[in-house]
Amino acid sequence: MTKVYSLAVLIVAWAVTAALVQSRLLPGPLTIGTTIIADIRSGELPFHMACTLGRVIGSFAIAMLLGIAAGYAMGRSKTADRYADPWLIVLINMPALVTIIFAYVWIGLNETAAILAVAVNKLPNVIVVMREGTRALDPDIDDMAKVFQFTAFKRIRHIVMPQLAPYLAASSRSGLSIVWKIVLVVELIGRPNGVGFVLGSAFSLFDMASILSYAICFIVLMLVIESLLVQPLERRANRWRRRPA
């Protein structure tokens, strides 16, 4: 309930400021509302959102899969960690923009380049978190599994996954938000569609109504995914934990 209140305050503040300023550069909530409805009717907004969402899902999936594998290997093996750690540091410190430019120059101005560039930007963060999670795996439980001759499948399903679940949840939450922000940049620079592309052309026309309506729609979409998908999965993974009193 407090959340709704706080959002309402924000919208009211926005409406009041817009009414006071009376400028084309700060449209009020009502103008934005009608713009959004018009854009949805024309099919423009759903189309660009779908383009962006597809890229988000693609690069998120690639980053998570590679990141889990690499992070797990680096957490388990000191040798792997020693070899891969310098690369990781280079990746972490690589500005997103540089990766994007490299991808477009080397691979070409296409979908593969766009998705890979975003995945590479997100990857080091997943690796770091999953490596941390792997290092925190309980060696006593590993011993127990060894004594009772757990199969590899049982170990992954019943011992490793439950312990990594909180780390997985943490990296997918931060992952989702990082990924969609970078996807917009990728689209702005080198794609003919998607929310980032629309924001770029709206910027050159100083079309604040479009910018605000697309930004709001996309934030809402991400919030919906977060609360309908990420949070329930997290709750499920933590079902066994006793609630703090």
Partner: protein
């Protein structure tokens, strides 16, 4: 020169650790075990008794095949299926009691009926609970159930009753006695509690301080399960004086 192989059925459990040491945090080599030898006939129950910190858990880890960094040899009985009860219950907190026990079963036996076992250990009404909701006594029972569910050829118990209150520990000892008698599994118990060892075991091995070896061993003539409280008290007294003699007889090191 280390070797862990599996002998045929009804073979004894043989453990020979010539030397076991580790490098401590300050870089010194610490010798934990030196020249330890013990042999336990198939189907019998042995107890390792020693002061705390003498390396009992190290010995059990070697016997369990969890630590291969030693000089010596272990020979395990039967097909080598090992059951173990660790000092802490080591249950998976994210699985229920029943799942914890069933997960230890080989895939082809995962659906087997365990009602008897759960009943013997008084776990019947706790099967759907998570380990975090259990008392230590119940968690230990679940760990014992897990070790017996797999029908082990030999069983290692690492102070399974430590830090339980005496009434609970006594009940659990009786339950363990019933289970080991029924299954005739070769069992090695580690404990610092002499009366507990005297109540449960056929054969006692007394351990020295570090570097650990067997000071002396003693087979108890009165069959296990028939020893009364008075028997246990008097045998324990006798053992205490034997240990004292053995230690002073060995002279100062």
């Amino acid at each position: 020169m280390k070797d862990a192989r599996t002998a045929g059925d009804a073979a004894p459990l043989e453990l020979r650790i010539d030397a076991k040491s580790y490098v401590s945090a300050d870089g010194k080599r610490v010798e934990v075990v030196r020249g330890l030898e013990l042999r336990l006939e198939a189907g019998s129950f042995g107890a390792l008794i020693g002061p705390s910190g003498c390396g009992k858990t190290t010995i059990l880890r070697i016997a369990a095949g969890l630590d291969a960094d030693f000089r010596g040899q272990i020979l395990t009985p039967g097909a080598g299926r090992l059951g173990m009860v660790f000092q802490e219950p080591r249950l998976l907190p994210w699985r229920t009691v029943e799942d914890n026990v069933r997960l230890a079963l080989p895939v082809d036996r995962s659906g087997v009926d365990l009602a008897d076992l759960f009943d013997t250990l008084g776990l019947g009404s706790h099967l759907a609970q998570y380990p975090g909701e259990l008392s230590l006594g119940l968690a230990r029972r679940a760990a014992i159930a897990r070790a017996f569910a797999i029908q082990p050829d030999f069983l290692l118990l690492d102070e399974p009753f430590v830090s339980l209150d005496e009434a609970v520990a006594a009940r659990l000892r009786d339950e363990l006695m019933a289970l080991t008698t029924r299954t005739k599994v070769t069992t090695l118990l580690v404990t610092h509690h002499l009366e507990e060892a005297v109540q449960l075991a056929d054969r006692l091995f007394f351990l020295s301080d570090r570097p650990t070896h067997v000071i002396f061993e003693k087979a108890l003539s009165l069959p296990r399960g028939t020893r009364s409280k008075e028997d246990i008290a008097s045998i324990s007294e006798e053992m205490r004086s034997l240990v004292a003699q053995a230690v002073t007889g060995a002279g100062p090191r």
